[in-house]
């Protein structure tokens, strides 16, 4: 049986580059495809999705959209090896590049505290996280076309707190941030998103999020993560951030200060992260006062699905509060540290907002 041309292209880097050169006659062209190729892709896409959803494939395919077609071909050749059992995922990991994290790398390389059965005390299960990464890759790559800058500011080890702005009817911005950190840090660091107290109460969602690394936001949980030197992501606005009016978009709301105290106490670095796009992508139309599962309100989005707004993420320079280590109990010091992060993030947001040319571009 002759494999589909689309699949063959990805299985053989040489074939890929030669066919591309043949079509366009431009050795530098690596990204364009003819309409025939697009049609072929549409025909085989369901097959590819089936392959993607196969449990074995999920461990090795992340298929990030990358302009370097040869690189993608390498990844698919690698996938074929895995299907035939010729190589392990880790043995043929592609060279380091941005947006290259495969699910296998999450499962194998990302450091986490395994308690003996493949789970940590908070329920994180890297293979599940890897599957989610594979399934969400089209959203990250194609739909929201997430671009980010400054990942080098995220330390490769040690206790770190990512402090970000929060918006949108549902926390798509949080998911995109976690995706971005996972895919761009080298070696991969699993961001532990800190969620509100009601999240574990929500059936299915609470369990699923905990497998993906989300941790309920209690002081003890966060302290333990920092003690272990993990990377955590906090949205100090809490639920007030997504609940704000559209006219207040990108204005940081009331700011909780607990993260600053914990950062001082556990000598963690704070990386301010500004996320642009969530406000316009899926704004909140209304809040129903239904407190299901302890949630403060039931969000009613302005439209049923988020708009394909271009998400932009910027990591600011790390703020080091280690010099305040002895003053973690001083409320004034803690409030000042939190205010400093607030000011930095506000400025970062304003700069990004003024610099962008349009919400979809």
């Amino acid at each position: 049986m002759v494999p589909p041309r689309w699949f063959a292209n990805r299985a053989d880097p040489a074939a890929t580059s030669s066919s591309c050169h043949g079509r366009h006659g431009d050795p530098g062209c690596i990204g364009r495809a003819s309409s025939a190729t697009q049609a072929l892709r549409a025909a085989v896409l369901p097959v590819f999705i089936r392959h993607l959803l196969a449990p074995h494939a999920l461990r090795v395919i992340a298929a990030p959209a990358h302009p370097l077609r040869g690189f993608r071909a390498t990844r698919h050749a690698h996938t074929l090896h895995c299907f035939t059992g010729m190589a392990t995922a880790n043995a043929h990991s592609p060279p380091s590049s941005h947006a290259t994290l495969s699910t296998a790398r999450v499962a194998i390389e990302a450091a986490f505290h395994d308690e003996g059965h493949g789970y940590d005390v908070f329920g994180l299960h890297p293979p599940t996280l890897g599957r989610m990464l594979a399934l969400g890759a089209p959203l990250y790559d194609r739909y929201f076309r997430v671009s980010s800058e400054g990942i080098a500011h995220v330390p490769t080890h040690g206790p770190t707190i990512l402090v970000a702005n929060h918006a949108g009817a549902l926390p798509v911005d949080a998911a995109m941030l976690c995706f971005d950190v996972l895919r761009r840090t080298e070696p991969p660091r699993i961001p532990r998103a800190i969620a509100d107290h009601f999240v574990p109460r929500v059936p299915v969602v609470g369990t699923w999020l905990s497998r993906c690394g989300v941790v309920p936001g209690t002081r003890r949980n966060v302290a333990r993560l920092l003690e272990r030197g993990e990377l955590i992501a906090i949205w100090p606005e809490g639920t007030t951030g997504p609940a704000k009016r559209f006219r207040d978009r990108y204005r940081l709301q009331a700011w909780r200060v607990g993260f600053a105290e914990l950062a001082i106490r556990y000598q963690a670095q704070i990386v301010p992260v500004s996320i642009l796009g969530a406000e316009e992508s899926w704004p909140l139309a209304a809040r129903l006062g239904v407190r299901w599962y302890g949630a403060p309100y039931l969000p009613i989005p302005a439209w049923p699905v988020p708009l394909p707004v271009h998400y932009r993420i910027e990591y600011g320079a790390a703020i080091d509060l280690r010099c305040l280590a002895e003053q973690a109990d001083d409320p004034a010091i803690v409030a000042a540290a939190a205010a400093r992060v607030h000011a930095v993030l506000s400025r970062q947001l304003d700069d990004m907002r003024f610099a962008r040319r349009g919400i979809f571009r």
Binding site: E115, H117, F122, G206, R220
Partner: protein, 323 residues
């Protein structure tokens, strides 16, 4: 070290006695149980006593102190049936602990008292941390079942006692998965089909009998006082525990579980009570064993032996024999 162990006929008490006898620093062990038992070791002495009577408790402690020179008391006796309620159960779980600790405080030779408590004393709610340390809130809800209230009261009765000459350590054990220990999880996993609340798969931590015994011996040796969480070496989702036990799981809506398990108890006589485990089966909650590791030197090392069906055990043994 001369140690007296209550509840010595139960699996945990027996494991503690065995472990103590293996310790070189233990001169002799006085094993207390309701029924007489044969003397199997030259350093082991048996005493029979009914701990539900204050006079018996007083006499037991007095004799142990004067005749055997006991300096450490490990109180591991507990009522095991969660379906029994009433004054006798309360007396065995709470009053016996009170009488025992008071009698020990009155004896000059006894310097250490180690009390068995349970992870159930903590309030497992969605607002509590996934990791439960010794300062976490206790289950003091007025509507809590007697089984829980007794455990909390006994824990507080012993741990709230001011530390003087008698050093008191309270060990709050994670769920002990072993036969005849009163383990709710063992009973739950012993049925062919385990019902689980739909949409929830909490992370649980379970303790092996050997680790529990090791924790008691470590506490007896140490001079640290206060409450200590004793966690086990197995941390896994409930669904995984069901798989490990070779059982089938059936997710059903949460509100159905309590009546279904009540019906099961009435028909088949299972001990598992869903109302005792409701919060835990939704939100999990794991003991933070840092303090026990730091002050008692206890770290879990033994994996739990899951309650597998007999044919699976047989297959496993055959496979082991072949290999």
């Amino acid at each position: 070290m001369r140690v007296m162990v209550t509840g010595a006929s139960a699996p945990l008490g027996a494991a503690i006695v065995q472990r103590l006898l293996a310790e070189p620093g233990v001169e002799h062990v006085v094993a207390v149980s309701r029924a007489a038992a044969p003397r199997i070791h030259r350093r082991l002495f048996h005493r029979t006593a009914d701990l539900t009577h204050p006079r018996a408790v007083h006499d037991l402690v007095h004799d142990a102190a004067t005749a055997y020179g006991v300096d450490t008391v490990i109180h591991a006796a507990q009522h095991r049936d969660p379906h029994e309620v009433g004054v006798p159960v309360h007396t065995q779980n709470v009053e016996s602990a009170r009488w025992l600790v008071l009698a020990c405080a009155a004896q000059a030779t006894i310097r250490r008292f180690v009390h068995r408590s349970f992870a159930d004393v903590y309030a497992h709610r969605d607002t509590t941390s996934a990791l439960i340390d010794e300062d976490a809130p206790l289950e003091l809800a007025p509507g809590a079942p007697q089984w829980l209230r007794d455990r909390v009261e006994a824990d507080l009765t012993v741990s709230a006692r001011p530390t003087g000459r008698l050093q008191i350590a309270v060990l709050r054990l994670a769920e002990l998965v072993a036969r005849d220990t009163g383990s709710q999880l063992w009973d739950y996993l012993s049925s062919r089909i385990c019902l689980r609340p739909i949409g929830f798969d909490p992370i649980i931590n379970v303790l092996a009998l050997d680790d529990a015994a090791a924790a008691f011996v470590a506490a007896a040796r140490s001079s640290a006082t206060g409450a200590f969480n004793i966690r086990g070496a197995d941390t896994l989702p409930l669904s995984r525990a069901i798989v490990q036990s070779g059982r089938a799981e059936l997710p059903v809506p949460g509100p159905w579980l309590a009546p279904l398990y009540r019906l099961r108890h009435a028909v088949a006589g299972f001990e598992f009570r869903y109302d005792l485990n409701l919060e835990r089966f939704h939100f999990g909650g794991m003991l933070d064993g840092e303090r026990a590791a730091r002050e008692l030197g206890y770290r879990p090392s033994t994996r739990v032996v899951w309650p597998r069906p007999w044919w699976r055990v047989l297959l496993q043994r055959l496979a082991e024999t072949r290999s």
